[in-house]
Amino acid sequence: MSTSTAARSRQAWIFLTPLLVVLALVAAWPLARTIWFSLTDANINDLSAAKWVGFENYWGDYGLFGNSADTNGFWAGEWGTAILNTLKFASVSVTLETLLGLAVALLLNQEFKGRTFVRAAVLIPWAIPTIVSAKIWGWMLHDQFGIVNQWLLDFHLIHDRIAWTANMDYAMWTVVMVDVWKTTPFMTLLILAALQTCPKDCYEAARVDGVHPFRVFWNITLPFIKPALMVAVIFRLLDALRVFDLIYVLTSNSDSTISMSGYVQRQMVDNGYVGLGSAASTVLFLIIGGCTIAYMRLSRATGRNND
């Protein structure tokens, strides 16, 4: 639209400048450092002694891939497990959060008494610092003095206490459950905002047409909130693929639940291998980028692109 496209795009750049300046300031150096470190043997002990090693951190006997220690195959190794764990965690938790977030947002979009209260209540899980909420859940899920086991026992739903966070069959699902509890509000809030942009008259038309509510949702609401939903999912996906705190606090960095970020943390901070850790971060970055692109492609393909 509008007049000269050139003038408009000049305006665009003017409007973008402050953002770009700040982003360049805060992001450029740290990110460049990370990528540079990933090509060196930097150790936290003395970063200035870092030596260029090329792609050794990525590939080779001591690298992320092709590591000679992975005698049982790459996917059984530490890094392979971390990748699998993370993908499993991210896909399940993001799916659940999206569905639940949608449901809750639709609920909150209704007029009813006490909506104010429910809206505040729903946000609480997100508001509690992750570290704290993970600890609360760790405590509540404790096999011996956790309230969850206690109640399940009291209601005779189980007859042995369940070691939610220790039993490796449950641990991952427990983490997912807590994550869902914690981050559903994030989805809810964004979806709720998106729901506000749906024009009322289309709903009226649908009502007169006798469109089933489910269909209204599928054919009218969803296309409206789709762009916002996509963004919400992308950011959730980003966060889920970088999950660390929650797993660390709930199940510690044990091999069964370690995430890619956990691996980065382990190599970079605990072991001090800044080079290897940076390489893992970079791979993580590439995986996240890949997942994001795949997701965008997928959701574009399943519906008309209304851009």
Binding site: L47, A69, Q144, F145, A166, D255
Partner: protein, 399 residues
């Protein structure tokens, strides 16, 4: 008018109170000033913070607290205290001093020590007519008896034995105790050779794995100190492996087991002798301090016998001077110090000094291997074999 030093010696609570008192005294005495830098509660967080500050050559801190396993890791960033100690280190526990000495440099002064202990319910032992276990097998037998009895008596979730089974440094401590007490060595010996792949070590791990689900709740795989204490202190366990701190809490006024608890050295393995993991903290001075002399002086003051005695009496901190374990004021305040003297003096250090920078990685590999065995994913033998390979890879050209 003197200089201002910044010390990081613990956060709120008892640690901080004691530290503040002692540094205040020193400040008054020397005319310098001392500021306190509070650090997170988590050991890992503290280390991470220090390493980042050291990497930036930050002079923000002049005296730091150092965990017993750290000297090897941060050795390049601490000054040698020998010139300032004037030989006083010889009066401390030699094991700790050795631990703190890297490449001939005394990097940290011992401040207080810690060792793994066995806590038990003496009322229950009496009830079932058992004596305190001397070996792991006895412990297992006693725990089995008590657990069965108590469960029958109606405490359906009563446990025989709890320890720290979470995949973290605590498990390394526990497992080092099992292995060492079974005659399986200390993972890496003092020469730096990897010794873990031996049948005794494998047997020790298998032994612990057998407990899980039998006398120990499966949840122990995710227990840290407080989880174990929680179970024990609510009267739901007969035995507990923990650090001395649990003592005063278990004897606290609101504790349901007050007066029913006793402490002993950890059991020994078949044909081995009891081993307790060495814990505790040291004080050190970073290279980047602008006032190393004053800082070293403060360290010497804080680790002096007089100050340690004070802390032992008032705060139950285990002193690092053997002489203080015979001091009657100290013993009056902490009766078990005397009986456990051997435990403290013979505590088994983790292979932190020899593995240096790579200690964390070694420990990680070790606790993970142990965790795998506890989970039942691997047998002890397979696990130590794999661990050996893993450690070799970590070692590369050398520690």
């Amino acid at each position: 008018a003197g200089v201002t030093l910044t010390i990081s010696c613990g956060t709120v609570g008892q640690d901080y109170e004691w530290c503040k008192r002692a540094t205040g005294d020193w400040a008054k005495k020397t005319g310098n000033q001392v500021k306190h830098l509070s650090v997170p509660a988590s050991t890992t967080d503290i280390l991470g913070l220090y390493r980042r500050m050291f990497a930036a050559k930050s002079s923000d801190v002049d005296v730091v607290v150092v965990d017993v396993v750290w000297p090897g890791i941060i050795k390049d960033h601490l000054i040698d205290l020998k010139p300032y100690s004037k030989g006083i280190e010889s009066q401390h526990f030699p094991a700790i001093v050795k631990n703190n000495t890297v490449d001939g440099k005394l990097l940290a002064m011992p401040w207080f020590t810690d060792a793994g202990l066995l806590f038990y319910r003496k009322d229950l032992l009496d009830k079932y007519k058992l004596s305190p276990p001397k070996t792991w097998a006895e412990l297992e037998a006693a725990a089995t008896t008590i657990q069965a009895g108590e469960r029958k008596a109606g405490v359906s979730d009563f446990q025989g034995f709890v320890f720290q089974g979470k995949a973290y440094e605590g498990l390394t401590c526990d497992a080092v105790e099992w292995v060492a007490s079974n005659g399986g060595g200390t993972i890496v010996d003092s020469k730096g050779d990897i010794t873990i792949n031996n049948p005794k070590a494998a047997a020790a791990l298998d032994m612990a794995a057998k407990w899980v689900g039998k006398i120990t709740p499966p949840g122990v795989l995710n227990y840290a100190e407080e989880d174990a204490r929680g179970v024990f202190q609510t009267g739901k366990a007969a035995f507990m492996r923990n650090w001395p701190y649990a003592w005063s809490l278990a004897q606290g006024n609101d504790s349901v087991i007050k007066g029913k608890v006793a402490v002993s050295a950890l059991p020994a393995g078949e044909g081995g002798k009891a081993a307790a993991a060495l814990g505790g903290w040291q004080l050190a001075v970073p290279k980047y301090s602008k006032h190393p002399a004053e800082a070293a002086d403060l360290v010497m003051y804080l680790t002096s016998e007089a100050v340690q005695k004070d802390r032992a009496i008032g705060g139950s901190y285990n002193p690092t001077y053997p002489s203080l374990y015979k001091d009657k004021d100290v013993l009056a305040a902490n009766p078990f110090f005397g009986s456990l003297y051997d435990v403290f003096i013979n505590a088994t250090p983790r292979p932190s000094t020899v593995t240096g920078l790579k200690y964390n990685e070694v420990s990680q590999a070790f606790w993970q291997a142990t965790h795998n065995v506890l989970e039942g994913k691997q047998s002890g033998a397979d696990s130590v074999k794999a661990l050996e390979a893993r450690l070799k890879q970590i070692k590369r050209q050398g520690w």
